[in-house]
Symmetry: D2
Subunit: 368 residues, 4 copies
């Protein structure tokens, strides 16, 4: 099945493996007339590129993006935007060992069963480098949404056992620490924790939170194409994500109707909500308040500590994974979460334009 | 956007409103040759029909299903299976009140903004009755999967503050209590809690858990069509679901690689895992162990207690919602979760058949 | 594969067999606010219903449509519109003979090979009655397009060897003869030819032509989603259609650039074309002139004359097909062609709304 | 709308403009294990590359393809195959003239209306170079189909007024003349005609015919996903194609049931047809005989003779198009038609694997 495309109207198709010639994405369905240059994309890619801190792989990749099509004189033309990042630092070391066994927590075994064999170099298609394509596509979506007043705030909410304190929440702090946490004290504590992790040849996970402001009411559709349902798919499609919740999420399951319902009230002639337990959607449609959701990210499965597993000859063995592995992927995954959210929201926004006949009629009257 | 279809190869398209003529589904892409009769579907619908206990709406609907097409001499023919449940107990009471305001926690406001107006009778398309179509479609999928040795165990894990105890887990108990809990003691405790809820004109939420056994390795695709990503969408597309997690889910975010990785080992010549923190998928593909995931369900938003809201004239008002409302929807939603999972898994299973050239070649050689 | 849906944003899903309980369609993605009642649909269905003339099957079906969902107080709500026509005149005669062999020119043999068996009663899913769902869906699309000033003129261009004369073209005549020909003299000649056909227990084919006026410029997309490409699929998906051409079509293949190019010129401040060899599209997009295309329809394969074939036991046999068969399906297929065109065009029109960023921005500015 | 993808299970996504950095395609859903190297692709691309004869543009492009992803050790891995052809010979001449007016027979005007502006250099996305991506994708599909015994024979049937004679049909001749005609005498006659065309600064069209042998029975689905319907879309999506017919096509419209029906008979224990008026499909499914269809290609719209048109300032003007234009595109489009057919057929073949439950069950039994 052709599973490398995401989105309906605004659609990305990604390609590439960790140690192939490059990684890329084709963005199709982008409205014509958006100012777009390589720097717009690079800014997003830089948020996920390796080597930003001691907690990220030291693979030395500039991850420089080229736009190969779809723009003319600095603007999108409505035709597909092809973007590519060439792989320049694939180490040519011997992969014969990793080729022979199945790493715990990785997709190696499933790949072999599904496809009969696998590109084992650096994880192949299941490498974190696969997210380069998503991020480049998300950069285009976010760029367009910004033109419409829709903005994102995405950050690490938890790193291992360390969670930010609401009282210390500081959006500016996100850019001041390598962990993208909106709480300087928590970031410091998390750094210490990560150093211990590395010493112990262990790894950890965390929680990413994303807030989206400026959404019009009514994005998303009432049944299968609920905005939150599509966000859930988008987020779970990122490797290592094991959970998704919107608004109060799992806490809502233990709440009551009286507490969990958000009361509507009038403010300056507009309808608003007194609280936001719903997280910005009702019945699958955006409700005009801030969209807020969380992604649970599992610990990096590649660890240097000894682990039990089996090899392709069907023998029980013990292994220690070598190589350049992040003790945590959360900080680099922040921009990936934002990218997938941006694509999902833009797609819903474009889709929503056909919901009402009066607006369709008006659109074409105006045009002609 | 045409948002009432779900699935790619095996696809359901649902229709119908709470107080329209009926609710239905068209199941397309079902392989030919499956034994199927109305009783197979009815058995699933009966698990979600109203009036099963004092905790469910007393709307008196038999919810009897008719198969209108797609079967011949008791077997599916490969053509679309149309199924319908006629609405017979829509109360003809006056809806002018509910029409005039926006119920907190409901989609009323979003519908009006998105579509310009809404069918306000009983929630219209956003009614829980919408899930009849999903359940009928899920019954077909589950029926087919059973032929392939794939089985489901779905139940209420939490009702409000009451969660089942692993040590008391008893699959048979699920069918012995009206709350579909696999723990008789917890079910009793939860019943008391629900009675209090009703007395207080309040409502509560809960957590549904689903286990799937018998999956071959390799279902799901490595990037956007991950099995868990599609399950997340399927489950979040059910009204009132606010969170999804697979395996250890959010707990994995606070774990470490050493703990969270599942070691592979050989057992009777097959590869198995010593633990199942992953919940049955690796890299988005089924890994041969039990698939296990959870859905967080919010409290029923329709409560009899007074609530603040606004009306369509833009005035702040106080309301009390009348009518027949479940204090909790979790027990009736159990079969809906199972249905959406069955459709998702069957779709992945059919999609997976084209993954390997040798198997494709073999398939056609054999056929001719 | 789920092959019973057509369209992306405006999408129909059809179901039903000739001798099952009924035939139906679910229309999803219809913008909210369209006035729609059963009479709007019935008017279209009446153009294809049996018993209109001596040249159509005498099966006595009223083909009365019911709308089961998707409208409220006479308007579409944006939710799926389910429509059904119950089968009331399935003859209960013995089908054991037809079940045993493969009718030439029919899909019987392919069905058995593909699905393992078939619903042989009256052609099952491959019956002409399958087009009821398309026609009901097309009626909705055409109703909406009319609101936007887009209108259709569809008619029989050829019946067997008889083709209309351009010089006698009279749009009003279409409704004055049972063959839907815009040329009274040709209709009379064709009637005589058909009577001969019937006497000879033979059948014939013909050509249907469709003109669409009022299209804005730019519908359709430049590469795979060309407007003419989608029309070609829509039209070839109608049973018995063997060819499609737009504008000069096959004649253009024998023309030259100097003749075939349509010169642009200014008229009243607008761009127009001096000729319309292109048939209303350039580069896959509507060009503002009348869209004109043709469908080649093969002769009805069910004929009473003796024919050679094989039976399911693998024996060569001779058969004569009994029953109520049209000597030509062209007149009844006219409205089916129009319906498929309407759905295709509406889908392109809705899709086109997201082509330009300035219009997207403007749409949302206005809305809020 | 994201209109640059084609196919469901086996899907291509193309990108690139005539004078951008390159042209490419991402092939997704290709089964793992297919031997594939750049030479396999290049062989196809060479059949459409410029400069093959005096009748093709003299733009000097090697059109060398690179595979950037999706293969490992010479075999496809099941992940997306990204292929690119860099543009190396874009002439840097001044496009200000062509930018200012609308060429007759081209998409310039429609682009401006739809997207607000256009990449006017060499036709931008509507250039014939867009077909490079299709051809590279088609090469992969054809390569795989060959492994299954499915082969293509595609050729020019007519060039302008010159049509091949059935009695002189010689498949080997196709490769012996630059016009890809299976009739040496016709090819010679056509060459003379083309030389006259060029002298007259005119152009012409033609008809391409494609035969496919070795198809199993039952490919394609009975309603909207008919094999012939999808072929029609695939072929009409190629720029300059104005008509499609399968089997007897438009001639069938003037035939009778007695003549047009193909009688079945037994041959060596298999069912065959005595004739093939249907062109290899019945009811939208392959019927086991040779698939045969035709595409009508219009004359190249770019001609050196003076033409009337309008400019962007809304003035009537006269123009003469300069530059390197083929007097006919038919010979180079032959491989594009074959490519689109291969993709369509492979997609139908993969889709067909899920049609029967017994085969699905058997597939998974065998696998485990």
């Amino acid at each position: 099945m052709s599973g490398s495309s995401y989105g309906n109207i605004f659609r990305i198709t990604t390609w590439g493996e960790s140690h192939g010639k490059g990684i890329g994405v084709v963005v199709d369905g982008c409205p014509a007339g958006l100012s777009l240059c390589e720097a717009d994309i690079q800014q997003y890619l830089d948020r996920r590129k390796p080597g930003q801190s001691k907690f990220t792989t030291q693979r030395n990749e500039a991850d420089s993006v080229q736009i190969l099509s779809g723009t003319f004189e600095g603007k999108t033309t409505g035709t597909p935007i092809s973007m590519v990042v060439l792989n320049t630092n694939q180490r040519s070391h011997d992969y014969s060992e990793i080729a022979s066994y199945y790493r715990p927590g990785h997709a190696d075994y499933c790949f072999d069963e599904k496809y009969g064999f696998r590109d084992y170099r650096g994880g192949g298609r299941s490498s974190g480098r696969e997210t380069i394509g998503r991020t480049a596509g998300g950069a285009v979506a976010a760029r367009l949404l910004k033109e419409m007043g829709i903005t994102f705030l995405t950050y690490s909410r938890s790193i291992g056992p360390v969670t930010i304190e609401e009282s210390r929440f500081d959006a500016n702090a996100i850019w001041d620490n390598k962990l993208y946490m909106p709480d300087a004290a928590a970031a410091e504590e998390a750094s210490s924790y990560l150093e211990d992790c590395m010493k112990n040849r262990n790894s950890c996970g965390g929680v990413i939170e994303c807030q989206v402001k400026g959404l019009p009411v009514g994005l998303g559709d009432p049944v299968f194409e609920k905005l939150d349902a599509n966000l859930a798919k988008a987020i779970l499609s990122i490797g290592a994500v094991k959970g998704f919740e919107i608004g109060d999420g799992f806490a809502a399951a233990h709440s009551t109707g009286l507490t969990n319902n958000d009361a509507f009230f009038m403010k300056d002639g507009h309808i608003e909500k007194k609280t936001n337990h719903s997280g910005g959607t009702l019945g699958g449609m955006s409700d005009g308040s801030t969209l807020i959701f969380r992604a649970a990210v599992k610990p990096t499965p590649s660890i240097a500590s000894p682990q039990e597993t089996v090899n392709q000859s069907g023998e029980d063995i013990e292994i220690s994974i070598k190589g350049r592995h992040d003790p945590i992927i959360v900080p680099r995954a922040v921009v990936v979460v934002e990218s997938m959210a941006a694509i999902t929201i833009l797609d819903a926004l474009l889709s929503n334009m056909t919901a009402r006949l009066d607006r369709v009629v008006d659109f074409y009257k105006k045009e002609n």
